[in-house]
């Protein structure tokens, strides 16, 4: 009986900090994850990849200048004629390409990803939640 009591105490002792983390930790995972749309990827999955990830920022030029993922190339449909050859110079076949825009509600990343795929660029993904999610994960950058 003493053993059961000790086990219960240990469980309670671990549950209290666990509950605090779940409630207040700034990087706590959400209770419910939104389903991925076709071609979308979660940031946590991208961070688990090995090898080079080619980041593409499909927001406006002004938003890009204010801050972007390290190494991200600015490529939206407005800048496409000038920026697509720059992308091609940096991109290597086999690399995974992740395109993001401002948030889940924007469609710029989907448009750019679709156009990249139409030109034979493989492994193109859209970051679920876009810059909002990236910024929340990397608040200091």
């Amino acid at each position: 009986m003493t053993g059961w009591r000790q086990a219960g105490l240990i469980l309670c002792a671990s549950a209290i900090p666990g509950a605090f983390s779940a409630a207040f930790h700034p990087r706590r995972p959400g209770w419910v994850q939104d389903a991925l749309k076709p071609g979308e990827i979660r940031l946590a999955d991208v961070e688990g990849w090995r090898g080079t990830v080619r980041w593409v920022d499909a927001r406006s030029n002004g938003d890009y200048d204010l801050g972007h993922a390290p190494g991200a190339l600015h490529l939206d449909l407005l800048s496409w004629p000038a920026a697509f050859p720059l992308f091609l110079d940096q991109w290597q076949p086999g690399e995974k390409v992740v395109v993001y825009c401002g948030a889940s509600s924007c469609h710029l990343a989907e448009e750019v990803a679709e156009k990249l795929r139409a030109n034979g660029i493989d492994s193109v993904y859209v970051l679920q939640g876009g810059w909002e999610v990236w910024k929340a994960r990397h608040p200091s950058q």
Binding site: D76, L78, L108, N119
Partner: protein
């Protein structure tokens, strides 16, 4: 009694934000020369109280919406001007504009803008790729002028002799198949294929495709 108060509050709040839109869903066919499409959404405050427009948001960074002022007295009319930047977009485009008023912050008016954008000249694909060491087999790029477009393909040229081009014309000036063959795929290389057109007459556009050996 509390229920009555809540009902009264809800009814009053609704009355505060009674914007009547003349044409909330607009369909626009862009011209091949257009760079921007402008849609104007005219509205009237059909309620009995002042309406304050708190926010006008768009579903895409490619669309901006402007409003001359925020407060509208009963019976007063106003207009939201939405500007859609075409950029490299083609085909069917649907954008939304959300208008939030102070009285109904959680129930915005949703305006729709549908734009059909003709593609003057289609270059498909824009990239032909060989891996280093791959056999230098020819690959093709199709160039097509949209039906109804006055543009004509004048010439297809490359900026480097490291790739050979051969152009098979389909409909004269309206379609062509460009066959690209690299001289050597043993090392990384890049080239640009330029498609010269005669349109618009004052500043004829060139379209591009890219050759990469990687």
């Amino acid at each position: 009694m509390k229920l009555v108060a809540v009902c009264l509050f809800v009814l009053t709040a609704s009355a505060f934000a009674e914007l009547q839109w003349d044409n909330p869903d607009q369909n626009i066919l862009a011209k091949v020369t257009d760079r921007t499409v402008v849609a104007k959404y005219h509205f009237t405050n059909a309620g009995k109280e002042l309406v304050t427009i708190e926010a006008v948001r768009t579903s895409c960074g490619c669309t901006t919406a402007t409003l001359a002022k925020k407060d509208y007295s009963p019976g007063e009319s106003g207009e939201i001007e939405a500007r859609f930047e075409i950029g490299g977009r083609v085909g069917h485009q649907e954008k939304a504009i959300l208008v939030t008023t102070k009285g109904e912050p959680h129930n915005p008016s949703v305006l729709h803008l549908v734009v059909e954008i003709p593609e003057t000249i289609k270059v498909q694909p824009e990239l032909v790729l060989w891996r280093v060491g791959e056999a230098a087999e020819p690959k093709t790029i199709k160039v097509t002028v949209a039906d109804g477009s006055p543009a004509k393909i004048l010439a297809v040229v490359t900026d480097t002799p490291t790739v050979k081009l051969s152009v098979a014309e389909g409909l004269p000036g309206k379609s062509a198949t460009v066959t690209v063959t690299p001289n050597d795929t043993s090392r990384p290389e890049g080239a640009t294929v330029m498609i010269k057109t005669d349109y618009p007459a004052d500043n004829p556009e060139a379209h591009y495709a890219y050759v990469r050996i990687k």
